[in-house]
């Protein structure tokens, strides 16, 4: 099967061609190699997980994709073209949205305003047009506001729309951050440990949102997660990293039966 072919999953979703490809990425911090020669791809409409023990380089990988880190070697291909070195905000403008492991929200702003910042890519009126505040700018604000309200409904945070984010509990903050990323209508949505620090109920909610997002909006999702059970349930394909190297790549079933993965990561669970 070529990577350019679409296919339909068991649960009836269509997985499209490759949207992003990492080719032989190596990332060093001084003498420390965080990532060594890793290649993998992300296909349109799939949920792609990156797993691995602590310090495996998962978050570094996500930071490479979102432009926060620039790898010393290797190429990032996005939508069929090699991506030149870019600043994080340029990557975001290209349609790659992300959340952070330790939540990066605008604490002083309301939930609604936070989610609206996600729409910056869609708002094209220039500085003068915005300052003068007429016609186009106004229409644009209304349209984007409607889109944002849909997302707020979807993630069930209507009740806290006008609340400053700083006052919200952890679980809701995570959800607001997800809403902001989703508001950008991203081509790829990167989630850095979306369920870290959550209780079982919150994890179930978050899993449901991730699946629904993927199902209803066809959002391509790449996520890092510690909780193996969650990863295996959610994802279509899994990359496994250990000590900065890729040690496995495939469907959850394939990965589960991969001896290198079992040794490195699931060793304890193996009998």
């Amino acid at each position: 099967m070529s990577t350019q072919d679409s296919y339909v999953t068991d649960d009836g979703r269509t997985i499209g061609p490759t949207v992003m490809e990492m080719k032989n990425i190596t990332l060093r911090f001084g003498g420390v190699k965080a990532i060594t020669d890793i290649s993998f791809d992300i296909r349109e409409g799939e949920i792609r997980a990156i797993i691995g023990p602590n310090g495996a380089g998962k978050s570094s990988m996500l930071n490479v994709i979102s432009g926060f880190y620039v790898p010393q070697e290797g190429e990032v291909w996005y939508k069929g073209a090699k991506r030149p070195p870019m600043r994080p905000y340029q990557v975001a403008q290209q349609g790659i949205a992300r959340t952070f492991q330790n939540i990066a929200l605008f604490e002083g702003m309301t939930v609604l305003d936070n989610v609206m910042t996600g729409r910056i890519r869609q708002m094209t009126t220039g500085l003068l047009g915005q300052a003068i505040w007429k016609g186009k700018a106004e229409r644009e604000e209304t349209e984007n506001r409607e889109a944002v309200e849909r997302i707020i409904d979807f993630l069930e945070i209507q009740a806290i729309r006008k609340t400053p984010v700083g006052r919200l509990p952890y679980g809701l903050k995570k959800r607001v951050e997800l809403a902001r990323a989703l508001a950008a209508e991203p081509s790829i949505l990167l989630l850095d440990e979306p369920m870290a620090g959550m209780n079982v109920e919150e994890k179930e909610d978050m899993s449901r949102f991730i699946l629904d997002m993927n199902d209803e909006f066809g959002t391509t999702i790449a996520l890092i997660e510690h909780d193996m059970g969650v990863v295996m349930d959610l994802s279509d394909r899994v990359v496994v990293m250990d000590y900065g190297k890729k040690i496995g790549d495939g469907t959850p079933t394939e990965v589960r039966n991969n001896q290198a993965v079992i040794d490195a990561y699931l060793g304890v669970a193996h009998d």
Partner: protein, 342 residues
């Protein structure tokens, strides 16, 4: 008795107007501090530089005339034309935007992530550089500033006769208030409303608040930090220009103008470093406070003159008040409370 009350209210009104001017300078500080965490010591000098540039362009002065004359032995000083105020204003705004860009490009871009004290030192350097640069560019003579918009709409000078007359008719005592102060108050109100509207209801305003809140998150939604910082410094430059025009029209464009920045410090301590309304309220309190204190205790006009300090309290009152605030409410009236979580 009536005369005394009217005189006291005159002092009060004058204090309000002076407060508006303090607030204008403080506003520039708040803008930059909020968005980038930089305490911009050069804000006062920026007001001076903006006012000098405006007057220089208006009068058709040749920039760097002294320097050119010294090098080439020429004797040039003026182009020989006058530029209308409005055109000069537009040009000066352009210069301030250029300055904002240069400050970002050559100074603060290289200091991203440094300690606040280092950024602060950089702004002190900037203040001295800008003061020397202004001197070199426009020379150091004291200049008068007259500012007229198209249609003979000039910044008024002198006392407001209408109010004086109305007061005289009502109470038999005149009421002195400066026309320029009234205009300054109106301009300041318009400016503050415009700034608040801009930051609350536009894309760039939202981006500005976002950058002020969290750099990493701002980057992740596609906001260019550099662009926002240039924007903020431009806005601060514009506010400095307005403050420079008002102060310049009041007391002439001269180098002591840069010292008004010092009066903005107590204003900020009162209002809080991160609050636009705080800058306004702080400015008004300081303005009214120092005038009324001088009236009551400086020259002993209240409570039968029990306390008479012999005048000149205006020089220190603001700082003492700021000190009191530092002890009892360090975040100011409207500032964000600093909470360190353990």
């Amino acid at each position: 008795m009536l005369e005394q009350i009217v005189f006291a209210s005159e002092v009060f009104a004058n204090g309000l107007m002076a407060g508006v001017l303090y607030a204008l300078v403080a506003l520039g500080f708040v803008l930059i501090y909020k968005a980038s965490g930089i305490f911009n010591f050069a804000q006062g000098v920026m007001a001076l530089f903006a006012a000098m540039t405006l007057v220089g362009i208006q009068n058709g002065q040749i920039p760097f005339a002294h320097l050119i004359n010294a090098i080439f032995g020429t004797h040039i000083h003026h182009f020989g034309w006058n530029v209308p105020s409005f055109a000069a204003l537009i040009l000066t705004v352009g210069v301030m935007i250029l300055l904002a860009w240069a400050v970002q490009k050559f100074v603060f871009r290289h200091l991203v992530g440094q300690e606040p004290i280092i950024l602060f030192m950089a702004t002190i350097g900037l203040a001295y550089f800008l003061e020397g640069f202004a001197d070199l560019m426009w020379n150091s003579e004291i200049k008068t500033l007259t500012f007229c918009l198209p249609g003979e709409l000039c910044l008024p000078q002198g006392m407001n006769l209408a109010i004086d007359e109305a007061a005289y008719n009502a109470w038999g005592v005149g009421f002195f208030i400066d026309n320029l102060d009234i205009s300054a108050a109106i301009v300041a109100i318009v400016l503050v409303v415009a700034l608040v509207a801009f930051s609350q209801y536009t894309k760039q305003g939202r981006a500005m608040r976002a950058v002020a809140d969290d750099h990493q998150a701002a980057l992740s939604v596609g906001i260019s930090l550099n662009f926002i910082w240039v924007l903020v410094w431009s806005l601060a430059g514009f506010v400095a220009l307005v403050a420079g025009i008002m102060w310049g029209a009041k007391s002439g464009v001269q180098f002591s103008l840069s010292l008004i920045a010092l009066k903005a410090l107590p204003v900020l301590m009162l209002g809080g470093f991160t609050s636009i309304p705080g800058a306004i309220v702080g400015g008004l309190i300081i303005g009214v406070g120092e005038k009324m204190f001088e009236y009551c205790f400086g020259i002993g006009q209240c409570f039968g003159g029990i306390i008479n300090l012999g005048g000149a309290t205006e020089n220190w009152f603001a700082y003492v008040l700021a000190l009191v605030f530092l002890v009892f409410r360090p975040q100011g009236l409207f500032g964000e409370k600093i909470i360190e979580r353990v």
